[in-house]
C-alpha cells in the first residue's frame, strides 16, 4: 500500500460491490455480444481521391496503406465464412483505384488485387479484377508487372476451365477441341506458380518477409489442393 492510499476498509462496502458487479456485467456483456459480422455487401461508397487526400492530412502514403489493411480486413470479420468472395466487386475496384491514386508507388493494392481478390471463383468478379489490374499496369509497368504476370496466369487457367465447362456442342471444329489439349499440356498451375514465384524470389523482388510468407502459404495451399485432386487419378 502506498502512503497516499487509505486502507481498503476505508472504501464503503457498496462501492466495492458496485465495482465487482459492474466489472462482471461488462465482461458478460462483451463476451455475449457477437463481433460486428457485417455483410460483405456493406462495403461503403468510395470517397473521391481529393477527399481521401484531405483526410490524409498530408500523409497520403500512410493513409493508403491503412486503407488497404482496412479493406483486406473488411470481409474477414465475425462469422463470415467466405471472405472476399461476396464483396461488391464494383465498389471494391473503385476502392482499390482510389487507394492506388492516393499513393501510386504502393504495390499493395495491385498485390491484393492479383493475389487475393482475383482468385475468386465467380468469373464475373474475377474478370473485373483482372481488367482492373490490366488497366493499372500501363500506369507504371516497371513497378506493376508482378501483378500483371500473376493476372495473366490466372486468366489462362480460367480460359481452360471455361473451355472445359462451356464447350459441349459436338459440331465444334476439331482444331478448337484440340486447343483444349494444347492448353492442358501447356498448363500446370503449380509449376507455373512456382516459376513465377521462384523467378521473383531469385531476382530479389520479394524483400518483405510478410509478403514472402504470404506467397509461400498460397503455394503450399495450392500444392495441397493439387494433391487432393490427383489422388483419384492414381487408382
Amino acid at each position: 500500500m502506498r502512503a497516499s492510499e487509505r486502507p481498503l476498509g476505508a472504501v464503503p462496502g457498496w462501492i466495492a460491490a458496485l465495482l465487482a458487479v459492474s466489472m462482471l456485467a461488462q465482461v458478460a456483456w462483451r463476451a455475449s455480444g457477437p463481433l460486428d459480422a457485417r455483410a460483405a455487401e456493406d462495403l461503403p461508397p468510395v470517397p473521391s481521391v481529393a477527399a481521401l487526400q484531405l483526410a490524409s492530412l498530408g500523409e497520403p502514403d500512410a493513409l493508403a496503406r491503412l486503407a488497404m489493411v482496412w479493406l483486406l480486413a473488411f470481409d474477414a470479420r465475425g462469422d463470415n465464412a467466405l471472405p472476399y468472395q461476396r464483396l461488391d466487386y464494383g465498389r471494391l475496384v473503385r476502392w482499390l483505384s482510389a487507394i492506388l491514386a492516393l499513393d501510386p508507388r504502393s504495390e499493395f493494392p495491385l498485390f491484393a488485387a492479383s493475389r487475393v481478390y482475383a482468385e475468386n471463383p465467380d468469373p464475373a468478379k474475377m474478370r473485373a479484377m483482372l481488367e482492373f489490374i490490366h488497366a493499372q499496369f500501363a500506369g507504371d509497368p516497371n513497378r506493376r508487372w508482378p501483378a500483371l504476370a500473376h493476372a495473366a496466369l490466372l486468366a489462362k487457367h480460367r480460359l481452360h476451365a471455361e473451355l472445359q465447362r462451356l464447350v459441349t456442342d459436338p459440331s465444334v471444329p476439331l482444331w478448337a477441341k484440340q486447343m483444349q489439349v494444347f492448353i492442358l499440356e501447356d498448363m500446370n498451375e503449380l509449376e507455373a506458380a512456382r516459376i513465377v514465384l521462384g523467378g521473383m524470389l531469385a531476382a530479389g523482388r520479394i524483400r518483405d518477409p510478410e509478403e514472402r510468407r504470404f506467397l509461400q502459404e498460397r503455394l503450399d495451399a495450392l500444392e495441397a489442393r493439387l494433391q487432393v485432386e490427383r489422388k483419384p487419378l492414381k487408382r
Binding site: 497516499s4 458496485l18 466489472m23 460486428d36 461508397p45 473521391s48 480486413a73 504470404f214
Partner: protein, 258 residues
C-alpha cells in the same frame, strides 16, 4: 421548511455552472462553425453523394470534437480544483467523498448531454430527425462515458498531461478494438504461437473495453439508424461501462489520502 437539495446535486449544479461560464460553449460554437464550413466546402467539391458526404464528415468530426473537448474540460477542471485546494475545501464541508465524486460525475454528464444536443442541431439540416435523434442519444451516452473515464484518470493520475493522454488513448483503443480483433483473427493473420498469443491478448483486452465503434456512427445519418433493439443494445453497453468507470473512480477516490 423547504428542504435543501442533496449534496451530489449541489456539486453537480456547480460543475454545470463552471462548464457554462468557462470556455466550453465558445469552443463548442467554434467547432460547429468549422465543421459547417468544411461540410459546405466538401459539398462544392464532391462529384457524387454530396449530401451523404456532408452528413458523414460533419457527424464524425462533431463526434470526435465532442469527446475531445469534453475530456479536456473534465481533466482541466479536476486539475484546477486540486491545485486551488477547492477539493480540500469541499471535503471539509459535510459532503461525503462518494457524494462529491458522484456530484462531479453528474455535472460533467449533464455537460456531455448538453454538448451532444448542441452538436446535433446542425445535423438536422443534413439528415432525418429520427436518425439524428438516435445519433444524439448515442453521442450523449458516449460523451458521458468519456467524461467518466476522464474524471477517473484525472482523479487517479496527478499530472494533467498523463490524465489527458490516458483518456484519449482509452477512447481511441475502444474505437479501434473491433477492427484490431478482426485483423488479428482474419485469414491473413499469422498462424504462429506469437500470433495466437497476440490474438488471445487482443480478445481479453476487448472484454475490458466498451464497443465504441458500434456507437454514434455517422452512417446512421446516411443509411438510417439501426433498429430500436440494436440501438438499445449499443446504448445499454455504454451505460454498463459508464457504471463500471464510476465504480472504479469511486473506489479510487475513497482510498486516496487527501
Amino acid at each position: 421548511m423547504p428542504t435543501s437539495p442533496r449534496p451530489p446535486f449541489v456539486v453537480a449544479r456547480y460543475a454545470v455552472i463552471e462548464a457554462l461560464r468557462g470556455g466550453l460553449p465558445w469552443v463548442a460554437l467554434a467547432c460547429i462553425v468549422a465543421v459547417s464550413a468544411l461540410a459546405f466546402f466538401l459539398a462544392r467539391v464532391a462529384i457524387s453523394e454530396g449530401a451523404a458526404l456532408q452528413a458523414s464528415v460533419a457527424a464524425s468530426l462533431l463526434r470526435s470534437f465532442a469527446v475531445f473537448i469534453l475530456a479536456m474540460h473534465v481533466v482541466a477542471s479536476t486539475a484546477r480544483e486540486a491545485a486551488d485546494k477547492g477539493l480540500d475545501l469541499a471535503l471539509a464541508l459535510p459532503v461525503s467523498r462518494p457524494s462529491y465524486y458522484l456530484g462531479k460525475l453528474l455535472g460533467f454528464s449533464a455537460a456531455a448531454v448538453l454538448l451532444a444536443i448542441v452538436f446535433a442541431l446542425p445535423l438536422l439540416v443534413l439528415a432525418k430527425p429520427a436518425d439524428v435523434a438516435a445519433w444524439t442519444l448515442s453521442l450523449a451516452l458516449e460523451a458521458t462515458l468519456v467524461a467518466a473515464a476522464a474524471l477517473l484518470f484525472a482523479s487517479a493520475l496527478t499530472h494533467t498531461l498523463a490524465a489527458l493522454a490516458a483518456s484519449l488513448a482509452f477512447y481511441l483503443l475502444a474505437r479501434a478494438m473491433a477492427t484490431v480483433q478482426a485483423i488479428a483473427s482474419g485469414p491473413l493473420a499469422s498462424e504462429t504461437v506469437a500470433g495466437d498469443a497476440a490474438r488471445q491478448i487482443v480478445d481479453l483486452l476487448a472484454l475490458l473495453l466498451p464497443r465504441l465503434d458500434a456507437a454514434t456512427r455517422s452512417d446512421w445519418l446516411v443509411y438510417g439508424a439501426p433498429a430500436p433493439g440494436d440501438t438499445f443494445l449499443v446504448l445499454a453497453g455504454m451505460a454498463v461501462y459508464t457504471a463500471l468507470l464510476a465504480a472504479a473512480g469511486l473506489f479510487d477516490f475513497s482510498r486516496r489520502n487527501l
